[in-house]
Symmetry: C2
Subunit: 124 residues, 2 copies
Amino acid sequence: MTLEEKIVSSINTYLDSFEKKDLDAIIDLYADDCWIEDPVGTEKKVGKDALREFYQLGIDMGVKGSLESEVRVVGNEAAFAFKIDMESGEGTFSTRPIDSMTFNEDGKITTMRAFWGPRNQGMK
Amino acid sequence: MTLEEKIVSSINTYLDSFEKKDLDAIIDLYADDCWIEDPVGTEKKVGKDALREFYQLGIDMGVKGSLESEVRVVGNEAAFAFKIDMESGEGTFSTRPIDSMTFNEDGKITTMRAFWGPRNQGMK
């Protein structure tokens, strides 16, 4: 696989893994020297232990991720618009981020920044 | 207007200005100390003179910009997925970037990075 193909595959696995509740699959997509900033402007979570804690919360909430439009890949970076749906008694609560990610030469995610604010959340 | 409102308004003006061929409107959205990286990985164009040259090319090609989905704003940053259409004898050629931007406290764009690769371009 080319790096571009690895990146697209990684992002698809990333989004699919929430519904599968496969925390290990998500963490395995990341490089050891990784950090995430979700949402942008908040304190970075550094390293796989911190990520495990963060993503466990999402999986516990039973979220489902899906792409809103095609993944953009350029060199070792990518961006993609998606939504995270969470079912509740009152209906579906959606958060609609755009993530930007950087990757190492093996196609592992080194950094992730999630762009979303209050206007990108709500009941459907 | 709040900073968030200024940012959303700026991005709408940005995309609308291509079809209007309003180069001054685009340049006026930027701060004096600005740079753009389009696409990501290429040499940065620094300052309004460099930007003027860059955007003039797009305007000369008769492109039209439109949002693909809602703008994501968080703090003084934003990201948005959109497409740039260019009509030709053979049909419409589309480029579909995701841009990330940072803004100063006046709501002027300080940096822009455009994520798009070969898989995000083509005839419709």
